[in-house]
C-alpha cells in the first residue's frame, strides 16, 4: 500500500495535466463544429482541401463530417495519439525509473516481494490511466452537449467508441513495460514513448494510404479505428482479441522479467 500511495502521488499530477489537455483538445475541436455543421458549403470546402487519400490516412473515409459523430471521429484520432503517448510514458517509466534514479536498490531491499512492487506500480499507473480516461468521458459529454449545433446524435456510438479506450491504453502500457524490461537501461523515457506512440500512428496512417491490410494487425490505432464504429457499427471482435492477447502476454512477460531482473546499482 505504501508503494501504491507513493506512486499515485507522483502520477496524480501528470494524470491531471493530461486530463486538462485532453479536455482542451476536445473543446477546441468541438467548438469548431457548430459553424461547420450549419454550412454545407464549408463541408465541401474541407473536402476540397483534403484529398481523399488524406481522409483515408486520417481514418475519415465513409464518415460524414457534417454529423456530430463524424466530426468527433476526427477529434478522436488526435485524442488517441495523446492517450498513446501518456500510456507509453507510464509503461516505459514505472519499472525503469528506479534504476535510472539510483533508487532501485533502496526499494528492493525493503522486506517486500518484487511481485508486490510490480503490482503496486502497475495498479498506480492503471489508476492514473483510468482517471484520465474518465475525465475524457466527462469532457466529451460536456463538449457534445455544448456544441452539438442542434444536431441529433446517438450517444451509444460515442460510448462504444470510448469504451475501448482502456484497451488501447493498456496496449501501450503493457508494451512499454515489456520493452523497458528487455533492454539494459532506458536513458530517455520520452524518446522511447514518442517512438512507440507515433510509430504506431504512422504505421496505421500510412498503411491506410497504401491500403495494406496486414499492417493493421500490429497497430492499435487500427484495432480501434474510430470510423469503423460508424461504418461497421461496432468493433471488430478479432481485433479486440488480438489486443487483449498482446496486453496479457506483454504484462506477464514484464512481470516475469522484473522478478529476475539483475538490478544495476550505483557503483
Amino acid at each position: 500500500m505504501n508503494i501504491y500511495s507513493r506512486e499515485i502521488k507522483d502520477k496524480l499530477k501528470s494524470a491531471m495535466i493530461w486530463s486538462v489537455s485532453l479536455f482542451l483538445l476536445v473543446l477546441l475541436f468541438m467548438s469548431l463544429y457548430p459553424s461547420f455543421a450549419t454550412d454545407e458549403s464549408i463541408f465541401e470546402m474541407v473536402l476540397e482541401n483534403y484529398p481523399e487519400v488524406m481522409l483515408k490516412a486520417m481514418g475519415m473515409t465513409g464518415v460524414n463530417m457534417a454529423t456530430v459523430i463524424g466530426f468527433f471521429t476526427f477529434c478522436m484520432l488526435f485524442a488517441q495519439i495523446c492517450f498513446a503517448v501518456q500510456a507509453s510514458i507510464y509503461g516505459f517509466s514505472i519499472l525503469s525509473e528506479e534504476e535510472r534514479d539510483m533508487t532501485a536498490d533502496f526499494l528492493l531491499t525493503k522486506p517486500i516481494r518484487r511481485s508486490k512492487v510490480f503490482f503496486s506500480k502497475l495498479a498506480a499507473a492503471l489508476t492514473a490511466l483510468v482517471i484520465t480516461n474518465a475525465a475524457f468521458w466527462g469532457s466529451t459529454y460536456l463538449c457534445l452537449s455544448l456544441f452539438n449545433g442542434g444536431h441529433k446524435y446517438d450517444p451509444k456510438v460515442f460510448a462504444q467508441m470510448l469504451s475501448v479506450l482502456i484497451l488501447f491504453q493498456l496496449f501501450f502500457l503493457g508494451v512499454g513495460m515489456v520493452i523497458s524490461m528487455s533492454v539494459k537501461k532506458i536513458k530517455s523515457v520520452l524518446s522511447y514513448s514518442m517512438g512507440l506512440a507515433f510509430g504506431m500512428y504512422i504505421v496505421s496512417a500510412s498503411g491506410s494510404i497504401i491500403g495494406e491490410e496486414r499492417l493493421s494487425y500490429i497497430t492499435p490505432f487500427k484495432y480501434f479505428e474510430p470510423n469503423s464504429f460508424i461504418t461497421e457499427g461496432g468493433y471488430d471482435t478479432a481485433m479486440i482479441i488480438i489486443c487483449a492477447a498482446v496486453i496479457v502476454v506483454s504484462i506477464s512477460a514484464a512481470f516475469f522479467l522484473y522478478n529476475r531482473r539483475n538490478i544495476r546499482t550505483a557503483s
Partner: protein
C-alpha cells in the same frame, strides 16, 4: 572540437536505430507504391470523374499514381518523425548532462559554456543533416525503379531542403528548452507537447478560414509537400520566419545557459 566529436560518437547508436527504423518504413512504402505506379486502370477511373470532382478530391495536387504524388503524401509522416527526432535530440543533448550527472565534469573543463552549447548544437545539426541526406538518397535510389517523371528530382530536393529547415527549427527549440527550463525532466515533456500541439494545428488549419493565421505559427505548414508541389519553390516568407525562429531560440538558449543554475 572535442565536444563535437564526443557528442557524435555518443550518438552513433541512437542514430543507427533511427536510421534503421526509417529505412524499414521507407522500404515498405516504396515497395507498396508498385501497386499504384502508373496504374492505368486507376488513371482511367480518375479520368471518368467529372473535372469538378477531380478538383474536389485534390487529385490534382496529389496524384497517387505518380511518384511525386505518392512521395508527397507519405513524406508528411516522415517529416513528423524527423521533427520528433530533432526536438528530442536538441533537448536531450543539453538535458542529458544533468540527467547523467556529468554536467559538473563538463562545465569545469577549461571551455566557455557557450562553446559547450555550440559544440552540442553542431553535433546535433550534423546528426539531423546526415539522417535527412540518408533518407534523401534512399528514396531517390528506391524511386529509380519506377522511372520518376520529370520534376520529381526538383520537387523532392526542395522538399528535403525544406524539411532540413524544419529540423533546424526543432533542434533550436529543443536546445532552448533544455537551457531555459530549470528541470531537465520537464523540458523534454514540454518539447514533446509543443510538437503535438503544432502538429494538430497543422491539421485543423483547413477547417475554417478564421484559422488561416495558424499557417505562420505551425512550422509543419512552412514547407508542406502540397505547398512545394504547387509552387515548385520554397516560400521566402517562411524561410525568413524559420531563420528568425532559429536565431531567436538559439540566442535565448546561449544567454540563459551562461547563467544557468545547475539542477543536480
Amino acid at each position: 572540437m572535442n565536444i563535437i566529436l564526443r557528442e557524435l560518437k555518443a550518438s552513433i547508436r541512437s542514430f543507427l536505430i533511427w536510421a534503421g527504423s526509417l529505412t524499414l518504413l521507407t522500404v515498405v512504402w516504396m515497395s507498396e507504391f508498385s501497386a499504384f505506379a502508373n496504374d492505368d486502370s486507376m488513371l482511367e477511373m480518375f479520368a471518368s470523374f467529372p473535372e469538378g470532382m477531380m478538383k474536389a478530391f485534390g487529385f490534382e495536387t496529389f496524384n497517387i499514381t505518380t511518384l511525386t504524388g505518392f512521395t508527397g503524401l507519405v513524406f508528411t509522416y516522415m517529416i513528423l518523425i524527423l521533427s520528433i527526432h530533432a526536438i528530442l535530440k536538441g533537448n536531450s543533448v543539453i538535458a542529458k548532462e544533468e540527467r547523467d550527472k556529468t554536467v559538473e565534469f563538463t562545465l569545469v573543463l577549461p571551455v566557455k559554456r557557450s562553446k559547450v552549447v555550440l559544440g552540442k548544437l553542431v553535433a546535433v545539426a550534423i546528426n539531423c543533416l546526415l539522417l535527412m541526406t540518408y533518407l534523401y538518397g534512399l528514396i531517390m535510389v528506391l524511386g529509380q525503379q519506377y522511372l520518376p517523371e520529370e520534376g520529381f528530382v526538383k520537387f523532392f530536393s526542395l522538399l528535403a531542403l525544406g524539411t532540413l529547415f524544419l529540423q533546424m527549427i526543432f533542434v533550436s527549440i529543443g536546445i532552448m528548452l533544455g537551457c531555459v527550463m530549470k528541470q531537465y525532466k520537464r523540458s523534454g515533456y514540454i518539447g514533446a507537447s509543443l510538437l503535438i500541439v503544432l502538429y494538430i494545428m497543422s491539421v485543423i488549419i483547413d477547417f475554417s478560414d478564421k484559422l488561416e493565421f495558424l499557417k505562420y505559427i505551425t512550422p509543419f505548414r512552412y514547407f508542406a509537400p502540397a505547398l512545394i508541389k504547387e509552387n515548385m519553390a520554397l516560400d521566402w516568407t517562411y524561410i525568413i520566419i524559420s531563420i528568425a525562429i532559429i536565431a531567436v531560440s538559439l540566442c535565448i538558449g546561449f544567454i540563459t545557459y551562461k547563467k544557468r543554475d545547475l539542477y543536480i
